[in-house]
Structure formats: structure tokens, C-alpha cells
């Protein structure tokens, strides 16, 4: 444990029309450099809130975030965010979207030519080198998300924060994106916190999965270390008993111990595993269904 990034007893309370709403209660987490963390939990529990506090976009009511032992007080490019809906500037080309970030972060350190090359390099990294002059509305959802990732990577962040980066993509594109991300991660070894609804995605990509309890006053319920060797290959892992065990652990946490009381199946679109599940009397049967 080198305590690269640490979330210290974070609580946050929002003032709403119906009085104060305590969303997070005492969330603490230590993240190592180069670690890939997935944040999983039911919709509305406060995952995005955690991420936004780390990003500095929200301020915790009590507690705080330390990055390399310095407190996080405002947003900054050292904690780049990949937003769920890509948030590219629609009036700029793919290249200019990334270049804007590069110019802002490296405007003083790098020459114009270096910045140009760095922009292209990052676009190549996400396999978008062929479409740099297109506008965001001229490329597919998966491509937009790639550009969003390229923009974040181009900032050379200390921590890469991703809020359901592939949530809006179809499953085939999502698999491609996960593979790309694993590849990039293998190369750059970034420190990543990623929110996901997808159990497979979490197990496949993460070093640790942080599972959150239901809100209000959500906190970290359980942390699952995924000790699978890298590089991980999707097809090989499909029959791997350890992999399936991890999967089952996460599912058990989400749907057994912290099933959402009012919405028993969660959002079907976001948690297809749950939708496929039948109410089971005994756990083994349920696991088979879930993993099959």
C-alpha cells in the first residue's frame, strides 16, 4: 500500500427540497498507483458522487481526498474524467477536442509540434487516427467514447476517472472497448477508478472491485480483490472457475445482500444479468443461471 490516492471518511449531504439528503456516509478507500478500481452498486446509490468528489467537481461535506498526500480541493487535469455521455465539444473536430486539452495542459511545456504529435499519439492509442477531422456527430457512439478516453489520457492524469464509460454502448462495441482499455492499461499502467453496472466488465478489468451499499447514506460494503493474471483474455476466462467465482461474489453482493428493495431488478438496461435471473430458491441454481 503506497496510499497514492486516498478517500478519507467522505460524507456528503445535499440540501434538497425535501430537506437534507445524506448520500454518502463515511466512504474510505486507499488506492495504489497503477491500480484499476471498479465501483459497482445499484443505480442512485452515489457512485457518480464519489467520482465527482475525487474529481473535485463536488466537495465532500466531511472528510476529503488526498492524492499523493495533497488534498484535492478543485478539479484539475491530474484527475481526468471520462464522462458517461462522452461530452465532446460538438463544434470541434475529434482532433481539436483532444488538442484543446493538450494545449491547456502542456501549453507551456511542449512546443506546438510536440503538442500536435502528442494529440495524434493519443488518438492512435485509441485507434482513432483515421478520423481525426470528423466532428463528434459524424462518428459512432463507441468512437466518441474512444475520443473521450483519448482526451483524458492526453492530460497524462495521475488518476483516470471514468463514469460508466461504456454504459451507453451496445454489447459488442462494449467488448471491443473493454479490450482496448485493457490493452492501453497494460501499456500505460494508469491509476483508474471506473464506475460500471456490468459485472463482467468489473471482473475482467479490475484489480479490485469496490461494491457500494444502497443509498441513502451509502458506503463501501465490500471490496473484492481480483487476482487474475494479466493479460486477461475474455474467451479463456469464460470457463475459468476463479473468474466465475468472482462474478458470483459480486452478483451475490448486489442481488442478495443488497438487493434494491423498491426496484428488485434494478434498471434492466443497465443490469441485464439481473433481468435474466429468475427468483431462485437456492443459491447454487441461481449462480448457474447467472454465470451461464
Amino acid at each position: 500500500m503506497n496510499n497514492y490516492l486516498s478517500l478519507e471518511n467522505i460524507s456528503i449531504t445535499f440540501a434538497t427540497d425535501n430537506g437534507p439528503l445524506n448520500v454518502l456516509d463515511d466512504v474510505s478507500l486507499k488506492v495504489d498507483q497503477g491500480e484499476f478500481i471498479s465501483l459497482i452498486g445499484h443505480s442512485g446509490c452515489g457512485k457518480s458522487t464519489v467520482l465527482n468528489i475525487v474529481a473535485g467537481l463536488l466537495n465532500a461535506t466531511t472528510g476529503g481526498v488526498l492524492l499523493e498526500n495533497r488534498e484535492v480541493t478543485e478539479p484539475g487535469p491530474d484527475r481526468a474524467v471520462v464522462f458517461q455521455n462522452h461530452s465532446l465539444l460538438p463544434w470541434l473536430s475529434v482532433y481539436d477536442n483532444v488538442r484543446l486539452a493538450v494545449d491547456q495542459v502542456f501549453g507551456k511545456q511542449k512546443s506546438r509540434q510536440e503538442r500536435h504529435e502528442w494529440t495524434l499519439h493519443n488518438l492512435e492509442l485509441v485507434h482513432m487516427g483515421h478520423a481525426i477531422e470528423r466532428r463528434p456527430d459524424e462518428i459512432s457512439g463507441g468512437m466518441k467514447q474512444r475520443v473521450g478516453i483519448a482526451r483524458a489520457l492526453a492530460m497524462e492524469p495521475k488518476v483516470l476517472l471514468m463514469d460508466e464509460p461504456f454504459g451507453a454502448l451496445d454489447s459488442l462495441t462494449r467488448t471491443h472497448m473493454q479490450d482496448s482499455l485493457m490493452e492501453i492499461q497494460g501499456e500505460l499502467n494508469n491509476t483508474v477508478i471506473m464506475i460500471t453496472h456490468d459485472v463482467d466488465e468489473a471482473v475482467l478489468l479490475s484489480d479490485r472491485i469496490v461494491m457500494m451499499t444502497n443509498g441513502p447514506s451509502a458506503t463501501i460494503g465490500e471490496i473484492l480483490a481480483i487476482e487474475l493474471e494479466r493479460p486477461r483474455l475474455r474467451l479463456q476466462l469464460a470457463d475459468d472457475p476463479t473468474y466465475n467465482h468472482y462474478r458470483a461474489e459480486v452478483l451475490r453482493f448486489l442481488h442478495d445482500r443488497h438487493a434494491q428493495p423498491d426496484v428488485p431488478t434494478g434498471k434492466p438496461a443497465k443490469t441485464p444479468e439481473v433481468a435474466a435471473e429468475a427468483p431462485a430458491e437456492e443459491r447454487p441454481a441461481r449462480l448457474k443461471l447467472a454465470t451461464g
Binding site: 473535485g56 478539479p75 456527430d137
Partner: protein
């Protein structure tokens, strides 16, 4: 396959008709023709119908200035106005030639003689009035835009300022140009005092009246455009730590451009309408004054000439609007927006 052609053959079972339609439908020409019909012939037919109704209706109305003119008389007066313009231009050229000759002669006699160059002071023609109106509306509109866009941006960015300014906007927005005009006239006379005025007072009065009336749509639309920027884009700028100015230039303005241009287009439309009224009431040069003068003149041609002016005002308004639309299309990044 053209879907706009109704195929009566099917319902009446006329074999030969069916064959004919099948033949026609198979032809590309049909598609082109039918789109030509829709694009050109239908508007032309409507225009023809309008002209017919107009000439029929006009014939049955007799005013104190004689019969209400029909399309033919109006056309004649249009031609006449153009000819008057050309005649006036020739007179002007001739005037300057004579003056030049006189001065040359003077100088030949006595090289130290003082020569005066007097400007030609002919009556402004219809075309001159059009030019004056266009310049005035452009001036008023540009002043309004220069004021409205920054105010709109600031109001959009700061909710507090918006709350402060909004009541004023709502209060002044519905005020008619006719109400502004006396105030503007008095203020301009009081404030704009100069021995060698660069601009005509009347011109300034009209332009400012236009400004006052057409400033509001741009302010409101820009404010809405700026304040409805996607929160995520704002977050992007926060993560990048963009400075205030960079944020405004790179994110706020581009993202509000579609709304801004929608506002500008409304503003120009209002400005054009207001200008004619202002010119008419204030006796400021321009198309409005032309209409008013003709009305006062009361000759048998006056009504026709006024109608020429009405048509020209309409056409120019339409052209200005199309121009803004082109500009709007060019400036808008949102390709999905349907602009018409």
C-alpha cells in the same frame, strides 16, 4: 418511385391508365417533374391567383385618390420610379460636369481664383431611400448586436445578474417603436450637438430607435443559449482548468451560437419593421418617409407608388431574413437542427 402521384387507374380499373402511370412512374423524369411542380409551379400558381384576386378586388374599390391600383399600375409605377432614379442620376452627372467646366474656365482666366465645389442637392429618389433605409437598419442592428450579445452572455453566465436585469428586459421588450421615438428624438437633439455632424440627426434617431426595439430578442436568446450549456461541458472546462476568457471563447460562445443567431435573426426582422414605422413618423429619410411623402402628395399615382414601396419593403425584409438564415446555417454546429 414517386409517391406523390395518385394512381387513379387502380381505383377505376382503367387498364390503359394503369399502364400509362406505370410507364410514367418508372421514369426518372417524373420524379424531377413532380419536384419541380412542388418547388416552383405551386408557389407560382399561388402568386398568380393572388395577382388575379388583387386586380379583381382593386377594381371594385374607389378611394379619394381614385381607383385602388392593380398589379399592372403598380408595375408601371415601379418602372417609372426606376426611370426617375436614372434621370436624377443623369442630372447629377450633368451638374458636376457643368460645375467642373465653370471652375476650369475660372481657373484658366485667373489661376488664383477660388473655386467652389458644391455638392448636388437633388431630391433623393426611391432607390436612394432604399439605400438609406438599409444603411440605417444595418447600423441600428449592429449597435444592438454589439450591446445585446455581451449582455446576453453575462446574463447567461451569472444567475444573479440575470435576475437583476430580467425585469428590465421584460419591461422594455414590449414597448412599441412609436413610444420610443419622441424620447429618442429629444435625447438625440439634446446630446448630439456638433458643429460638423458626421451623421444626420434623423439618421441617428432612426438607428437608435431600431436598436432599442431589436436588442431584446438577441439578449433573451443569447442568455438562454448560454445558460443552457450542457453541464458536462462546463465540467470539462473545470477539469481542464480553463480560464474565464478561454472558457467563454472555447465553450460558452460556440455552444450558444445557434441560439444567438436565432435571436439575431428575430432582431433583424423586428428592426426592419420598426425602421419603416420610425422613418414614417419622424420624417427621417428612408422608405418610411417615401411612403409618407407619397401619402401626403396625394396624386393619382401615389397609391401605386406606395404599393411599390410595400412590395419592396417585403422583398427586402425577406432577403434580409434569408441572409441571416444563411449566416445562421453557416455558424451553427448542430447539424441536426432544422432551420427554416
Amino acid at each position: 418511385m414517386s409517391t406523390t402521384i395518385i394512381n387513379p387507374g387502380k381505383s377505376f380499373d382503367f387498364k390503359w391508365l394503369q399502364l400509362l402511370f406505370a410507364f410514367l412512374e418508372g421514369d426518372r423524369l417524373v420524379k424531377a417533374t413532380s419536384s419541380l411542380v412542388r418547388q416552383l409551379l405551386i408557389p407560382l400558381a399561388a402568386l398568380g391567383l393572388f395577382l388575379m384576386l388583387w386586380s379583381a378586388g382593386a377594381a371594385s374599390v374607389t378611394t379619394s385618390l381614385g381607383q385602388l391600383p392593380g398589379p399592372a399600375q403598380v408595375w408601371d409605377q415601379g418602372v417609372q420610379l426606376y426611370q426617375e432614379h436614372q434621370a436624377e442620376r443623369q442630372k447629377e452627372v450633368a451638374f458636376y460636369q457643368r460645375q467642373e467646366q465653370r471652375n476650369q474656365a475660372k481657373l484658366a482666366k485667373n489661376p488664383d481664383a477660388e473655386v467652389k465645389v458644391r455638392p448636388y442637392t437633388g431630391k433623393p429618389t426611391f432607390l436612394d431611400q432604399i439605400a438609406t433605409s438599409l444603411v440605417t437598419v444595418a447600423t441600428g442592428f449592429i449597435i444592438a448586436s454589439l450591446i445585446a450579445i455581451p449582455i446576453g452572455i453575462i446574463c447567461g453566465m451569472s444567475a444573479t445578474l440575470y435576475r437583476a436585469i430580467n425585469p428590465l428586459i421584460q419591461l422594455f421588450k414590449p414597448v412599441s417603436p412609436l413610444a420610443w421615438l419622441p424620447i429618442v428624438t429629444m435625447v438625440v437633439s439634446a446630446v448630439y450637438i456638433s458643429d460638423e455632424p458626421m451623421f444626420d440627426k434623423a439618421f441617428i434617431t432612426s438607428a437608435i430607435t431600431v436598436t432599442l426595439c431589436c436588442i431584446w430578442p438577441t439578449i433573451i436568446n443569447t442568455t438562454v443559449g448560454v445558460s443552457s450549456i450542457d453541464r458536462d461541458l462546463i465540467n470539462v472546462s473545470r477539469v481542464l482548468r480553463l480560464g474565464w476568457l478561454t472558457k467563454t471563447i472555447k465553450i460558452v460562445i460556440p455552444s450558444s451560437i445557434p441560439m444567438m443567431f436565432a435571436g439575431l435573426r428575430l432582431s433583424l426582422g423586428i428592426g426592419w419593421m420598426v425602421l419603416i414605422a420610425a422613418e414614417m413618423l419622424a420624417q427621417n429619410p428612408g422608405l418610411g418617409k417615401f411612403v409618407w411623402d407619397e401619402f401626403q402628395n396625394g396624386s393619382s399615382n401615389s397609391l401605386s407608388r406606395i404599393m411599390v414601396a410595400v412590395l419592396v419593403i417585403g422583398c427586402l425584409g425577406f432577403i434580409l431574413d434569408r441572409g441571416m438564415l444563411l449566416l445562421q446555417r453557416w455558424a451553427t454546429w448542430d447539424r441536426n437542427a432544422v432551420l427554416r
